[in-house]
Symmetry: C2
Subunit: 511 residues, 2 copies
């Protein structure tokens, strides 16, 4: 590399380093709001977060970044930058273009409308009254359409909706998702039918034993230790706290998870802890050399979800995990679970049962909840349906896909916060994550054919290292479909995930 | 007010509002570091705090602030601004001048040297080796002298050291402090001698009863409730956590305290909680109309300390407080303290005993620890003694003032972090706070002659309201000596404080 190129590249990275550090500080402030903040501080806190986000926007749209990008990219020796350096430049340019092309007034109007819509959504959900929510949602959807059209031009996507998906799942066209989700839907519906009609059914009453919260806290700590999420040593880079809606937040050396504890539903904490630890391992194990560089961030929302679901479902709901962990659980809980049988327990944990609420759905039916939302978003942003029609189409889809009757919009179209919060294009990432996790599992099985035995013996070490090596440490070096190819050697395909599900559930349900 | 003046004034306040919000966000990040942060995050955290402080510096030295100040102050109708508005302009100008007159290189060099010096101080303190610490301290003192000389010109103080004091105690000349501390020293030394030679002496063994930490936590919560520091309601604006060195941090609606618990020294938590709650009440009860304005900040470090000491000592170590609280304490602790006698307990809590360590000193000897530090700082910054001579002068002063022999520099000149951290001119505020608290008490007694009975009956309500009305709600509307006049009707004087001490201790020690 020649001097001027090096110098401009370094200056550019220095600018972006500041943005990443600021984001990581803001994530601490946000975590505090959810976990520690005295309730009376909420107004002050919203002003603090708004200010930090204004400062971040200003830093991200600093014209100096544009100048440096231009200087770097016009240089004839540009292609002497290595792959990582070029990726950094690419990611910085992508973010800069998106942030500078959206008019500031529109960004501010959307932020304001999102705050209003979330507020009304909460009230409307409590009142079970979609008509309260509707006018605010309509305004937000209109604003989002405007933004999506601008982003479509910048990102050169096929549709405005594709431009929104691209925020969470880069270069993943809705056309591809439609194809994948179509195959998945068929596979899931057929599998659900087999499970529902199987003569053998699980007894879920064994999941209702009361386990005191203090015991559950200890169990969560043990689970964290098992997957290698260190919260106790002097080098710990994480911690577990409690919130109603569990989440993971942080950056490299400070990645925190939350979980929730219900005395009469003790497995909820176990699986939410496993899920969030899956996220946390990803954030903690990005390539340390890339800290403070754009390439040192996770690949996509879908890949993030692939990691949480992998740990929660593929590992945590496996028979092998419980061969190891059920005796431990029995020890923790004294005589509460002493009569519980391994196979009956694992069967109960994996009950397949269509339901109305996404966040309570089992591993198999979950995908259908997402596919319904994807279809609706697509039609809404594409102008094929209106906000007014949303509840009706929602309810009909739930009847068609899951066979359930939605009785009011609070358990229907208003159940999730996403649309009120302006998160359009986000839902497909959840299920893409599941599809990825199937391909990741298939790839891992080639390298670690003994992984199930290892888990049964209480060792997650090799699996963890495999995930770090093949996914986490790549950070954002590749777009999702390229990382998938790199990791699994295959194009995006729903088959490995359906294979995993079919094998697992045919065994459980004996069909 | 004319339009252009209003408009410039509003713009100016908007600029400063951002700075105050950023500071309040940084205080959350700092609090998290001390209480919640996983230990492995320390490097990331120091980068986050450094960035926030760079952003704050940039916002504080924004040339636009200078322009707006000039526009406002040159207007002929300037004096039509009311007192609060003029004070805001004054405080903004003062801060802007100080921040812009110090060369950025010097500020950065000092920050770097402070970090180095603190680090070496920790090691040298452990090793009991002043010679390790000395060269770093010399460099820091030289840099601080440079800064002090620049600030002296800006602030127009009599000496460079006065310019440093002015940071914490505005417009409080070292000449005044010398006079006040001289009188105080005489009074304290005479009082200590009377206490030490009194035939009646306290039995402090009753303070050594073991009280389990969980009980102590409940006691702290009760104390917080008693003084009106709300940590439990849905409108709570505070919380109590645990750190080795207790502190208070925050802004208006989010003011947090920490305390520490020692099983074999249960009164430590009680008094540190009272002390920090005294600070917290001040920060929470600034005039709410002045939130996000410079006038809506505390008056000075000394006034802050007057509030914490007032609650901790004047109230918390009074016989009346324990008439109310000892029975409660006995209830909390079961049979641990059942045989403790009220008067014996209060006497033990107020034992006067010269010692080597400032933070362990009692109410009476404490002032001498500070006066020693003030004298040394003054001579050090004034060039009358060198860093090399510090330990010797320190040890001699402790012998002369307190009659104790310092055996090594870790229990001597290296005991506090202040000089390693660059906090020169800060120490006098501690004892000025005590002097203020004496005048505040005298003034309060005129308005609330029944205050002792109220406390004995468990009511802090009227006292709290008096403090809010006469001190907290004035924020930074006045400089310390003016606020003192406003509150007490008197000039700064050591007499009321010495009166309070003499009355209290002559009763306790029966002389």
């Amino acid at each position: 590399m020649t001097e001027p190129l090096i110098s401009s590249y370094k200056k550019l990275l220095e600018k972006v380093k500041g943005i990443l550090i600021l984001q990581s500080a803001a994530s601490v402030v946000h975590w505090d709001m959810e976990t520690m903040m005295p309730p009376g501080a909420i107004n002050l806190r919203s002003q603090q977060l708004a200010l930090l986000s204004r400062i971040e926007h200003k830093m991200s749209t600093d014209p100096e970044i544009g100048k440096l990008l231009e200087e770097i990219m016009k240089r004839p020796e540009y292609d002497r930058l290595n792959a990582v350096q070029q990726r950094n430049v690419y990611l910085i340019k992508k973010n800069y273009d998106e942030q500078t092309k959206l008019p500031e007034d529109l960004v501010a109007e959307i932020a304001k409308q999102e705050a209003i819509t979330v507020d009304v959504w909460k009230k409307a959900k409590t009142a079970k009254d979609f008509s309260m929510f509707k006018p605010k949602l309509e305004k937000l959807v209109d604003l989002k359409k405007k933004a999506a059209e601008i982003l479509m031009a910048v990102k050169e996507t096929a549709t405005p909706y594709d431009a929104l998906i691209d925020i969470y799942e880069p270069k993943m066209p809705s056309e591809t998702i439609n194809k994948i989700f179509g195959e998945l839907r068929e596979g899931l519906i057929s599998l659900i039918e087999k499970c529902e009609t199987a003569p053998k059914q699980p007894d879920v009453s064994i999941l209702k034993h009361r386990v005191p919260i203090d015991m559950q806290r200890k169990i969560s700590k043990t689970i964290a230790g098992f997957v290698g999420y260190d919260i106790e040593s002097k080098e710990a880079r994480g911690r577990i706290d409690e919130t109603e809606h569990p989440f993971t937040t942080g950056y490299y050396d400070d990645v925190r998870v939350t979980t929730h504890y219900y005395e009469e539903n003790f497995t909820s904490a176990i699986f939410s802890t496993l899920h969030e630890c899956g996220h946390a391992l990803y954030d903690q194990n990005l390539n340390p050399e890339w800290m403070f560089q754009p390439v040192g961030t996770p690949c996509s929302m879908g890949f993030h979800e692939s990691q949480s679901r992998f740990v929660e479902n593929i590992m945590g709901r496996s028979r092998e995990f419980w061969i190891y962990f059920l005796p431990k659980l029995k020890k923790f809980t004294g005589n509460v679970l002493s009569n519980v049988d391994l196979d009956a327990f694992v069967f109960a944990l994996n009950q397949v049962r269509p339901s109305k609420i996404r966040v309570e759905a089992d591993e198999v039916t979950y995908g259908l909840h997402i596919i319904i939302r994807f279809n609706l978003e697509q039609d809404l942003l594409g102008g094929k349906i209106t906000v007014t029609e949303l509840p009706e189409v929602w309810n009909q889809s739930y009847k068609d896909y899951l066979g359930v009757d939605i009785e009011n919009d609070s358990e229907g179209v208003m159940q999730d916060t996403h649309w009120a919060s302006g998160l359009y294009g986000y839902f497909p990432s959840y299920t893409l994550g599941n599809v990825y996790s199937g391909q990741i599992l298939a790839a891992m099985e080639k390298d670690l054919p003994e992984w199930k035995n290892q888990i049964a013996q209480g060792s997650f070490q090799d699996i963890r290292q495999w995930l770090i090596k093949n996914i986490h440490s790549y950070g954002d070096l590749y777009d999702p479909s390229d990382l998938l190819k790199k990791t699994s050697g295959e194009e995006l395909s729903v088959k490995p995930y359906l294979n995993y599900l079919n094998q697992k559930y045919s065994k459980l349900y004996s069909f």
